[in-house]
Point group: C2
Chain length 600, copies 2
């Protein structure tokens, strides 16, 4: 039977054959770990995901949160699932032993968390949001804030949210209007409205800690005037006990296409003028704090998109193996038995496309998680800074590529099931609906593309881009040891060279102040750059597969051959198709730029 | 204010500037028509669509049909809508005056029907299914069957379905098991199960006439042993009155991701051994009858996909014009006013892509409808046969291209609305869910691709393909009169030449018996061929727009410029990107063909 949660063999391949997870245990922080502790954690994650998260995934979709008397009501299955997750320690997997954590590499924590994301995107979100909010306080909060808010979050008693978006401004955080007035006791009084706040209300924890962006009275206009505040749902007494209700009202719930188990809320802060908030860090630095935590959140979104794609791939694979239908084009004898649809070439294409997308994205997500470990645990500051530069560069890809292409994978999963796939009797349509959120939240595609081309590739004189280029070249060098990989390596080298050329040209334009023109087709740049990155990761996987074929167990041969075929698919079908988009960028094509509102 | 149902100016452009609808009135059958009667019919369609179809589109989604005591219950708004449609005569728009029809060209009937499809895909389906079933009886039924079943369908008292699919066989009609045994009175007794039968039960009509594929006892195996039967829900007495319930049971309803207002049913025929059916035409000819009616149904599906895309495009355009957010990349002054998002280049890209897809598909759908008129009303049999050949060739494109690319358009519409687009408070997410059905029903994408490459392009020694090539060349010749169109024409010519070359090569392979190999990548062929066809239609639109700019009203200039920009987008961004797929076909790439089940 096909495993429909996450392919364990592939996870082991990633951790131990591609990303050298065991190598991390050489670092002091992870010295107490080894492959056995890693595998034990993964085993526990799988068990809890199977037992508590997967069973209510459909029910949660069919019974979305209800607004009752100013609060959000959830189905009863969510709390035991989240509790089991907390109890097993996954919320703090990466925190130190002193903090009550497992001192795990981020790589392993993401690998564990992937099981929950595959089993139930919505329920796992409550945990992810809490991790994000806790990390913000940990990084930028003062000791009292850590004592009062972070500690209960680590203990799983308080949950968290990120409250950025406002109704009139959407992605344009520069234009937020939520105000924070200083009060006499050193705290602040907030007033404003936030929308699409995930996890903004629920009965899963004793308290909810909102991390709110707002403006102080003396704030300069725009993004340089945004401050970050802790705004708890309930005030917290000096002894740590939960006190009176704060002036944060649940104005309503949004009714989403998918991802329904996670409350999406409209929150009103300070309707009565009594909304107490606490400034985090320095005034007007809120957005930069938020951005410093963004890498982690965006890896999380990318992995979430990946796991929805992965779940759909595995389900449709199982279906294709079990479902007899039709015959091959040259076998028209109607009295012969029908073949399993996995034998039809076009079904193989739909499966291979999914495999290439989801396993490519999965590799990249874990690669980014390991890079995150590097930013924290490499020996020298220079090394850590260099790792962070690369991670900053890759983050828009890590977030957006899976959001786009694993959604496409879900579309293919439905197609394999045909009419059945279009019904709610099967899970693939929910994956598709759930996944449609990912290109929107945590920075839309368009915003990721501006971030990549407008900021990241130029950072520090293109240092990160040069670093990435060296890594790609190193993989190509390793691949060139295998003649069998020439046909896979060459398209990557060609795309890499072409992107380099186009990047220089566009950066040159920006240097001359042609900002709008140079950024006009940034979405094409994002997709193409993404294909280069995923192509690189597939070539790396192919090298490891060749190594495995040569040295590994005979029983793994099929696994490695599948890897090589998916790499071949991605590098020879998809990667070479990117050059036309690059030529559009190269020609400074102004078709979209020059389109006028009145012409539509 | 933006029109969100269907752009009237664009419809007039199609009918009177591109497709010469007025020219049809020279033909005897349409002699009583003129532009005024056409426009009056369109006006009525718009009014009824606005008044009766659009208002319950969301409600119908939120309150899907219920299975109650063996019958399907619908929300009450559906019947008045369908009744208004019937009363206005749209069901029989193309039938003769003697039959009680309007003797309209199919082109105009499709143009009218497009309004209903845009306003409410699900409710309009009941009409479309009935038209399809009625046309089958009209073409192949005997006089008694026409009297007993067709006449009440024309009068709107009986509705129809197409009952093909069975649980164990899906698209493989060769393997259906439903049996039909001859009875003494010349009728038949059917026994079998059908699934995904749209409109298989509902309370909208006095009776439901199922057109059922089944096998006679002496049937040869496979598709050559399939016969077509009329199986009414209620028997019909000799005086035409509705009689006893036939042995057709509603086994259950499917719960779909979208398109929820249309019942999707599981039907059991002959549970008690008393299911009466009537053979249509000759034994064992059922599938060929069905296929002869397929062109019309597939145009209908393609137009349905198009109209969902169109509705999403127009809605997201209106939203983009109304919604202020952010500033242009070079205008970072946070104290300046936010711009409407339609001013952002990436939003223009998302809108222009939608416009290129939906208006390209809309043109093709109407072109096919006009071609359908040619198959019936051109003067000589030779001319009619030639038209039918071209329509047969284009049908897989007419069905599949909009299903794929107008779904993509809906994805973009959601993206423009951002978080709002992901909620059910806005209509675009429903369009996306509704549209996901279209690549599945009436022949999946994979099946369309085999039909195109495996049958259609080779038909009659490639006569239809040669005809299409001549038409493309003729459009290119017209376009070459405008220097401004050179950059649009050349990519089409290049793609056309490349497809010609690849087609010859693949047909050569098939001639040598390499069937599985030649058809292995047929899905790429379908998409690429589709882009050539839509590119051709866009170049034709561009020629008409240039003509309009030169000779038309000044107030139309913006409209024509928009057409030219969308044509430019499609022909310079999308068409040239197809060559890599063609090179995969050209190289007889076996990546998918050689992928093994065990390697996944």
């Amino acid at each position: 039977m096909t495993d429909t949660l996450l392919d364990s063999r592939n996870l082991a391949f990633e951790l131990y054959e591609v990303l050298d997870a065991e190598g991390l245990t050489q670092r002091p922080r992870f010295a107490d770990h080894n492959r056995e502790t890693f595998d034990a954690a993964i085993g526990t994650a799988r068990t809890i995901a199977d037992k508590y998260f997967a069973p209510h995934n459909r029910k949660s979709d069919e019974n979305e949160p209800k607004y009752v008397d100013g609060a959000a009501e959830l189905i009863p299955e969510i709390k035991p699932a989240v509790d089991a997750f907390l109890e097993a320690g996954f919320l703090n997997a990466t925190r130190t032993f002193e903090q009550g954590g497992m001192q795990m590499p981020n790589l392993l924590s993401q690998a564990c968390f992937a099981h929950f994301q595959s089993a139930n995107a919505a329920t796992s979100s409550y945990a992810m949001l809490t991790m994000g909010a806790a990390n913000l306080i940990e990084a930028f909060g003062n000791d009292e804030q850590k004592q009062r808010f972070l500690q209960p979050m680590i203990e799983g008693r308080f949950f968290g949210t990120m409250a950025l978006t406002e109704p009139h401004a959407g992605s344009s955080l520069s234009d937020i209007r939520t105000k924070a007035e200083p009060a006499e006791d050193g705290s602040y009084r907030l007033k404003g409205n936030k929308v699409y706040i995930s996890g903004g209300d629920h009965p899963l924890s004793d308290n909810i800690v909102h991390m709110v962006l707002a403006k102080l009275p003396d704030a300069p206009p725009g993004v340089k005037g945004i401050s970050l505040f802790i705004v708890p749902k309930f005030l917290v007494n000096d002894d740590g006990s939960v006190g009176a209700r704060n002036d944060v009202a649940l104005a309503g719930l949004f009714h989403k296409m998918g991802w329904r188990g996670t409350t999406s809320t409209a929150l009103n802060f300070g309707e009565k003028g009594e909304c107490v908030g606490y400034l985090v860090g320095k005034p007007h630095q809120g957005l930069s704090y938020m951005f410093q935590m963004m890498n982690e959140a965006r890896i999380g979104v990318g992995m979430g998109a990946t796991m929805l794609g992965y779940a759909g791939y595995l389900y449709s694979l199982e279906y294709a193996r079990d479902r007899p239908q039709g015959r091959l084009p040259d076998g028209k004898d109607p009295s012969s038995a029908q073949v399993a649809i996995v034998e039809h070439t076009d079904i193989k294409r739909l499966l291979l496309t999914q495999k290439a997308y989801v396993e490519g994205a999965f590799d990249l997500g874990l690669y980014a998680a390991r890079l995150f470990d590097d930013t924290e645990t490499l020996e020298t500051e220079e090394q850590r800074r260099t790792a962070l530069e690369l991670l900053d560069l890759l983050t828009p890809i890590v977030k957006s590529w899976p959001s786009e292409f694993c959604l496409k994978a879900n579309e293919h999963a439905i197609q394999i099931l045909g009419g059945a796939g279009y019904t709610r009797e099967y899970p693939v349509e929910q994956y598709y609906r759930d996944n449609r959120l990912n290109p929107i939240h945590e920075g839309t595609h368009g915003i990721q593309s501006l971030d990549l081309l407008g900021r990241k590739v130029a950072m520090n004189n293109g240092a990160a881009l040069k670093q990435l280029s060296s890594l790609i070249q190193a993989t190509c060098a390793r691949a060139s040891e295998y003649d069998s990989l020439n046909a896979l390596r060459e398209p990557l080298e060609k795309l890499h060279a072409h992107i380099g050329k186009v990047t220089m040209a566009l950066l040159g334009d920006m240097g001359q102040g042609k900002i709008n023109q140079a950024l006009a087709n940034s979405a094409l740049y994002l997709n193409t750059f993404g294909h280069m990155v995923i192509g690189w990761r597939w070539l790396e996987q192919a090298v490891c597969a060749e190594r495995g074929l040569a040295n590994g167990k005979a029983s793994d041969a099929d696994f490695y051959r599948g890897k090589l075929q998916a790499a071949r698919f991605f590098l020879t079908w998809e990667v070479p198709a990117c050059h036309h988009a690059l030529s559009i960028l190269e020609n400074r094509d102004d078709t979209c730029l020059e389109m006028q509102n009145d012409w539509f």
